[in-house]
């Protein structure tokens, strides 16, 4: 994983609540044995019409959304299936941070492990961001701050995940260092 210190981008807004991982990446694209290339199918049901053409009325297809790395979405983002294909698809599509009032547990955990930042903000901040699509924001991982329009909002990010993000460390490496304890635990109980 690459270290992630800061994300600077305009936002794109998807107001829907309870966006589930079946919307982020529909099941029919899960037969892959790779993690690359899923961005082409991100939000497939909403981005494409029956004939497979891009729907010009869907916000992610608009010119304003091009190159946006920060997605602002409605409450309870990422609910449903545990598929890690969801953060893989978002990252491959170019999204590096998602902002919402709440995030489903498994999605949040999957996102952090792949360097996609799940940012939970309060109602007021959320409302402001929803009503100002395209605003320039900065996500500062070291400071755990979301900055826009002269506002500074702190967001929650546990120390361990922050350390992993800032240093590009993956959790597997950390777990492998605990082997001795794991072995001792196993021996004690068998």
């Amino acid at each position: 994983m690459q270290p992630i210190k800061k994300i600077e981008s305009r936002t794109v807004v998807l107001v829907n609540k309870d966006i589930d991982t079946d919307q982020i990446i529909p099941a029919r694209f899960l037969t892959t044995t790779q993690r690359e290339g899923l961005g082409a199918h991100a939000f497939a049901e909403w981005r494409f019409d029956k004939n497979g053409e891009l729907r010009s009325d869907f916000v992610l297809n608009t010119a304003a959304a091009a190159d946006c790395k920060v997605l602002v979405a409605g409450d309870n983002f990422g609910c449903g299936s545990s598929r890690e294909h969801a953060p893989w698809a978002l990252l491959d599509f170019g999204i590096e941070a998602v902002i919402s009032t709440s995030m489903a547990d498994i999605f949040r955990s999957n996102a952090l492990k792949n360097g996609l930042l799940p940012i939970v903000v309060d109602e007021n901040t959320h409302q402001f961001l929803i009503s100002h699509p395209g605003i320039d924001v900065t996500v500062d991982v070291a400071a755990r701050e979301l900055r826009f329009d002269a506002q500074v909002i702190e967001f929650e990010l546990d120390d361990f995940s922050q350390y992993c993000l800032l240093n590009g460390v993956d959790e597997l490496g950390y777990l492998l260092e605990q082997q001795a304890s794991i072995e001792a635990w196993e021996n004690e109980r068998s």
Binding site: V15, N16, K17, D18, D20, D22, Q23, P26, A27, R28, L30, T31, T32, T33, Q34, R35, E45, K50, G74, D75, N76, C79, G80, S81, S82, R83, E84, P87, S102, A104, D105, I106, S109, N110, K113, N114, D158, D159, F160, D170, E171, L172, Y174, L175, L176, Q178, Q179, S181, I182, W185, E186
Partner: protein
């Protein structure tokens, strides 16, 4: 012996028992995993990580693989006849990976194969007090046995492969007390849909739910599994039910359950797996089982649910709500009863066990599936299929005009070619009515097996209690 220990919840007892390295202010805990279930969709990338880093599966003996998500349910398409394409590649990849890493697998020819959350309990691998994970959100199902069971992502599948452990932070706890008794004709599925309708699809986020109370204690294991299965639909990390004699009776004699004196010792241990009196839950909700009716969803998430004789609610200007109704092509303030349906699906890890199939057979016996309806009955496992056939249920399904299939996830997520067509309405015993879940443009009503069967024979949404 007396201990001055603080009273603990069931969740806390299992958690404490599996801590390899405790959680600190900075670092998550290292939690030991007793059983790792895997399937073809969420494992290939994790095996690739092992390979690229020169690692092995640490405990193949605590790992169990099955094929379910992308496998065909038509017998003539199974085995070596699986049509070429990415699904076949995925199946072959899992078989090859299991061989390379020494992981036991119930492959396409195995008697034990089936939906991962159906077979774990069926073979007795799911046991009280265990920590159980799978790259699948409905791992919560196994919580019905008093096991701490939760879904993980593929990166974590790799972590468990390599270390048999996970980095975890402790969850908050939510007690759902279900008082009273379910009325006749009302099932576990109706109860869990009512609970999700009550607390909302995000109501359990960050929490482990413990289902408690008289109505839960009276339930069979099949019903408890249905309830825990859908905990994730309320956003919960896991669902739990304290083990009791019902649990032990279910497990006794299953292939992977302890035997002889080991069994006695295990049961003695398991009896301690209850929440202590006075233990603290972060949140509590009480549900009156007597007030629950057969439930059915009308929208595009499982929280959008009403009693079957209710009307579709209205929610003024809420854009997402209106989008859901538009997707379903339904209008507010109208009943669902009498609405024609195109497809009925009985299956999925929520409702594909033998008791579910018996309920459906009870309705179908001596009746016909309505002409305009296509009905699919997909058992949760090959063993369930065999049992159903031994009881003659298959003959009832087939002579009523339903299709009787091999086990698998099938129309629950429409990965294997079993789909609901665009714009079609299905009544489904599965767990998710998300847009496109059962096929592009498919419109799903989630309900119990009895309600699904009632819709199949009448061709319209029907209160199963009105079919005598």
């Amino acid at each position: 012996m007396t201990t001055s220990r603080q009273p603990r919840t069931l969740y806390e007892k299992i958690w404490d028992e599996h801590i390899v390295v405790p959680q600190t202010e900075h670092n998550p805990a290292v939690l030991y995993i007793d059983l790792h279930l895997i399937h073809e969709v969420t494992s290939p990338q994790a095996f690739s990580v092992l390979r690229s880093r020169g690692l092995r599966v640490r405990r193949p003996d605590k790992t169990l693989a099955t094929l379910d998500h992308s496998t065909p349910t038509k017998a003539d398409l199974l085995y070596s006849n699986m049509p070429p394409g990415p699904a076949r590649e995925q199946v072959k990849t899992l078989i090859a990976n299991c061989e390379e890493f020494g992981v036991p697998i119930y492959d396409l020819t195995s008697q034990h194969r089936g939906i991962v959350h159906v077979i774990g309990p069926e073979v007795g691998a799911t046991q009280p007090g265990k920590t159980i994970v799978c790259g699948d959100s409905h791992t919560s199902t196994h919580g019905a046995f008093g096991a701490l069971a939760f879904g993980i992502g593929t990166t974590e599948v790799g972590h468990v492969f390599a270390t048999q452990s996970l980095l975890q932070r402790k969850s908050r706890t939510l007690a759902i007390n279900v008082e009273g008794a379910l009325r006749p004709g009302v099932t576990a599925k109706d109860l869990v849909l009512a609970i999700i309708g009550n607390i909302g699809v995000g109501g359990g986020t960050g929490h482990v739910i413990e289902f408690r109370g008289a109505a839960i204690e009276q339930m069979s294991m099949d019903s408890r599994m249905t309830v825990c299965n859908m905990s994730i639909e309320a956003g919960a990390r896991a669902g739990l039910i304290a083990p009791d004699d019902t649990t032990f009776d279910y497990l006794h004699g299953r292939p992977q359950a302890p035997e002889g004196s080991e069994w006695e010792k295990a049961v003695q241990r398991w009896r301690d797996l209850v929440t202590d009196t006075d233990a603290h839950f972060d949140k509590s909700v009480t549900i009156d089982a007597n007030a629950v009716a057969p439930m059915i969803t009308y929208g595009t998430n499982p929280g959008m649910v009403i009693p079957i004789d209710g009307v579709v609610p209205e929610n003024g200007g809420d854009k997402a709500f209106n989008q859901a109704l538009a997707y379903m092509a339904l209008e507010a303030n109208r009943p669902l009863l009498g609405k024609p349906v195109n497809v009925v699906f009985v299956g999925s890890c929520t409702n594909s066990r033998i008791s579910d199939l018996r309920e459906v057979a009870d309705v179908l016996k001596g009746r016909k599936v309505a002409d305009a309806v296509r009905m699919l009955v997909v058992p949760g496992s090959q063993a369930t299929k065999k049992q159903a056939e031994a009881e003659g249920l298959d003959k009832i399904f087939i002579s009523a005009g339903a299709e009787w299939r091999e086990s698998g996830c099938s129309m629950c997520l429409g990965m294997n070619g079993d789909n609901v067509g665009a714009g079609e309405y299905s009544v489904s015993t599965s767990n998710r009515n998300f847009e496109g879940r059962q096929g592009v443009g498919a419109r799903t009503f989630l309900a119990s097996p009895a309600t699904a069967a009632a819709a199949a024979v009448t061709g319209v949404i029907t209160d199963p209690r009105t079919l005598a």
